[in-house]
C-alpha cells in the first residue's frame, strides 16, 4: 500500500534523509504512469522541470541548508494556469500547442517555496463546466467511482490529489470549480477571497470572479499552500494589499462558542436525501465542538444562478475575444483576416464555450445590456449584501457544497441548464467575493463523497480554516 504523503511527511522524510526529492518525484511519476491512463487527470507531465527542482532541493539537503516551506512537495497545476515552457491548453483545442513564455505568480511562488511541479491537470474547457466533461481532451474519471464525474471545472486537480498522484494541486474557482470537485472527490479544497491570490498568469474566464486555490489531502496542507500563494502582487491590480496572516498558526485555535449560520434557503427542496443526511451529521459534529448553530436567512440565494450566468458569460465573451489565431494557439487559415477569425474560433472552441460566448455577447449587446448585464450586477450587489448581513450575526456560514452527490458521466451533458443548477450552493459566495472551503463530510453508502461548505467573511480565511481543521480533527470528514 503506497504511502499517503502529506506536506509534513515529506518535510520529515527529506530532513531525515529517508527519501530524496528525486526519489519522491520518481515515485509519483510511477504512480501516474500506472493510474493516469484510466483517470485522464493529467494532460501534460513536466519531468525535466521537476528534475531541475529536485536537484536543487537535494543539494540543499546534502549541504545541510534550511529547506523552504514546501521543499520537495510534488504538486500539480490546473491547465488554465500559465507555466513557463510547459504546454498550457486550458482544456481547449484552440490552445492545443500553446506554451506560455512566463509563469503565473502562484506557480512562481510555489516553486520558490520548493514545490516540485509534476504536470498540468485536465479541466473543463476554459474552466467552463461542473463535471470535467467539457474538456477537448476527454473527461476525467472520479477516482472513487470510475463511472462518475470528478466534478468541475478543476476535475483533474481534485482527482490527482484524491488518487495520490500529487500531494497537493492548484485549481481555479469562478462559480464553484474548486469547491465542487473537492466535494465530489472527497478532498478538502479552498478558494480564498477574491483578490487573496494573484490572478497574474491565470488564463482568464471571468475576471471579477476567477480565483486560484489549493486542493490537498488534509486541511493543514490546504492552509500551507494558501500561505505560499496568497498575497499582494503588483502584476495583478485586483490583488489585495491586506496582510496574509500565518494560517497554520491560526489552525489550532479553539472553535468553541463560534456562531455558525445555517441559511434556510440552502436546505430546501432539490437537495439529495443522502447529501442532507451527511450534512446534518456534519452539523452535529460542530455542535459537539461547542459551536452555536444559528438559522439565518439569505433571501437572494435563489437568484444567484441567474445573476452568475449573466455576469460570468458576459465577462467570458470579452476575455475569449483574444483567441483569433493571430498570436498563439490554433489558426485555421483563410484568404481573409476576418474569415480566419471566424473559422479559427468555430473550429477551436467546444460547444459549452461557444454557448457561453453567444449568451455573454447577447446580454452585453445594444438593447439588452440594461435588462441583463446591469440587472445582473445589481442582483450581485444584493447577494453580496446577504453575506454582509449574515456576518453581523454569525462567524461563518455552513452549507452543503453540492445539492447532489457525484453524478454519472453523461448524465447531465444534454441539458446545460440542469448542469448550471448543480452550482446553486457555490455561485453565491463567488458573486459575493467571500472565501469558502469544501471539507469532506462522509460518503453516501460508504461510496459517494459529500462535501460541507464553510463560507467566511471577506479575508476571513483563517476562521474558515480553523473551523475546517477542527471539523476534520473531530472526525467530521468520516461521518
Amino acid at each position: 500500500m503506497a504511502t499517503n504523503w502529506t506536506i509534513d511527511g515529506v518535510k520529515e522524510a527529506l530532513g531525515a534523509k529517508k527519501v530524496s526529492a528525486r526519489e519522491l518525484a520518481a515515485e509519483f511519476y510511477a504512480r501516474i504512469e500506472a493510474r493516469n491512463p484510466e483517470l485522464n487527470a493529467y494532460l501534460t507531465l513536466s519531468p525535466e522541470r521537476a528534475r531541475r527542482q529536485t536537484d536543487k532541493i537535494d543539494a540543499l539537503v546534502a549541504g545541510g541548508k534550511p529547506l523552504p516551506a514546501l521543499a520537495g512537495v510534488p504538486v500539480a497545476i490546473k491547465d488554465v494556469i500559465s507555466t513557463r515552457g510547459i504546454k498550457t491548453t486550458c482544456g481547449s483545442k484552440i490552445l492545443q500547442n500553446y506554451v506560455p513564455p512566463y509563469d503565473a505568480t502562484a506557480v512562481e511562488r510555489l516553486e520558490a517555496a520548493g514545490a516540485v511541479i509534476l504536470g498540468k491537470t485536465n479541466c473543463d474547457e476554459f474552466a467552463m463546466g461542473s463535471s470535467n466533461e467539457n474538456s477537448a481532451y476527454g473527461p476525467v474519471k472520479n477516482p472513487l467511482a470510475l463511472d462518475r464525474v470528478p466534478g468541475g471545472s478543476s476535475g483533474g486537480s481534485a482527482a490527482v490529489v484524491a488518487a495520490g498522484l500529487a500531494v497537493a494541486s492548484l485549481g481555479t474557482d469562478t462559480g464553484g470549480s474548486i469547491r465542487q470537485p473537492g466535494s465530489f472527490c472527497g478532498v478538502p479544497a479552498m478558494m480564498g477571497s477574491y483578490g487573496r491570490v494573484s490572478r497574474y498568469g491565470l488564463i482568464a474566464f471571468a475576471s471579477s470572479l476567477d480565483r486560484i486555490g489549493p486542493f490537498a489531502t488534509n486541511v493543514s496542507d490546504v492552509a500551507a499552500i494558501l500561505q505560499v500563494i496568497a498575497g499582494r502582487d503588483p502584476q495583478d491590480s485586483t490583488s489585495t494589499t491586506a496582510v496574509v496572516p500565518d494560517y497554520r498558526a491560526e489552525l489550532g485555535k479553539p472553535v468553541k462558542g463560534l456562531r455558525l449560520g445555517i441559511p434556510k434557503e440552502y436546505f430546501g427542496e432539490g437537495m439529495d436525501a443522502g447529501v442532507r443526511k451527511k450534512i446534518e451529521a456534519g452539523m452535529e459534529v460542530f455542535k459537539k465542538l461547542g459551536c452555536q448553530l444559528v438559522e439565518i436567512r439569505m433571501p437572494h440565494t435563489d437568484y444567484a444562478i441567474a445573476a452568475y450566468y449573466i455576469i460570468a458569460t458576459a465577462e467570458a465573451s470579452s476575455n475569449l475575444a483574444r483567441y483569433d489565431g493571430v498570436r498563439y494557439g490554433l489558426r485555421v487559415d483563410d484568404d481573409s483576416l476576418l474569415a480566419m477569425y471566424r473559422k479559427t474560433r468555430g473550429a477551436g472552441f467546444g460547444a459549452e464555450v461557444k454557448r457561453r460566448i453567444v449568451l455573454g455577447t447577447y446580454v452585453l449587446s445594444a438593447g439588452y445590456y440594461d435588462a441583463y448585464y446591469l440587472k445582473g450586477q445589481k442582483v450581485r450587489a444584493l447577494i453580496a449584501q446577504d453575506f454582509q448581513d449574515a456576518f453581523t450575526k454569525v462567524d461563518a456560514i455552513l452549507t452543503p457544497t453540492s445539492p447532489v452527490p457525484p453524478f454519472k458521466l453523461g448524465e447531465r451533458t444534454d441539458d446545460p441548464l440542469q448542469m448550471y443548477l448543480a452550482d446553486i450552493y457555490t455561485v453565491t459566495g463567488s458573486l459575493a467575493g467571500v472565501p469558502g472551503i469544501s471539507v469532506p463530510c462522509g460518503k453516501i453508502d460508504g461510496k459517494l463523497p459529500v462535501g460541507l461548505q464553510i463560507f467566511g467573511a471577506a479575508f476571513g480565511e483563517a476562521r474558515v480554516l480553523q473551523l475546517a481543521h477542527a471539523f476534520e480533527g473531530a472526525g467530521g470528514t468520516a461521518v
Binding site: 483576416l337 473559422k343 449568451l359 455577447t361 440587472k375 446545460p416 441548464l417
Partner: protein, 100 residues
Amino acid sequence: MKISREDVLRVAELAYLDLSEAELETYRAQIDEILEYIGKLNELDTANVEPMAQVLSDDQTADATLREDLIVPCAVAEDVLKHAPDPEPPYFRVPKVIER
C-alpha cells in the same frame, strides 16, 4: 421565445464565431431556455440598487506608494514569436482584410 435564429446569427457575427446550421438551432433552443430562467431576476426590485461593478474597493487594492517610472528591459519578443502560428519576426503575419 426569447431569442430567434436571427439573434443568434447576429451575435455570432459580433463574436466572430462560425456556427454550423445544427449548432445554430441547438444553441438557440438552449439559450432560449436559459434566458427564460434568467427572467426570474425581474421578480426583484433593483431600482435603488447600485450595480456591483467592482468586488474590492480602491483602498483594498492600492499600493501605499507608486513605483518609480523606470524603463526595465522586456525581452519577450523572441519567446512570444517562437510560438506564434505564422511569425515573421518581429511581426505576426496574418491574411489581409478583404471585407469591410
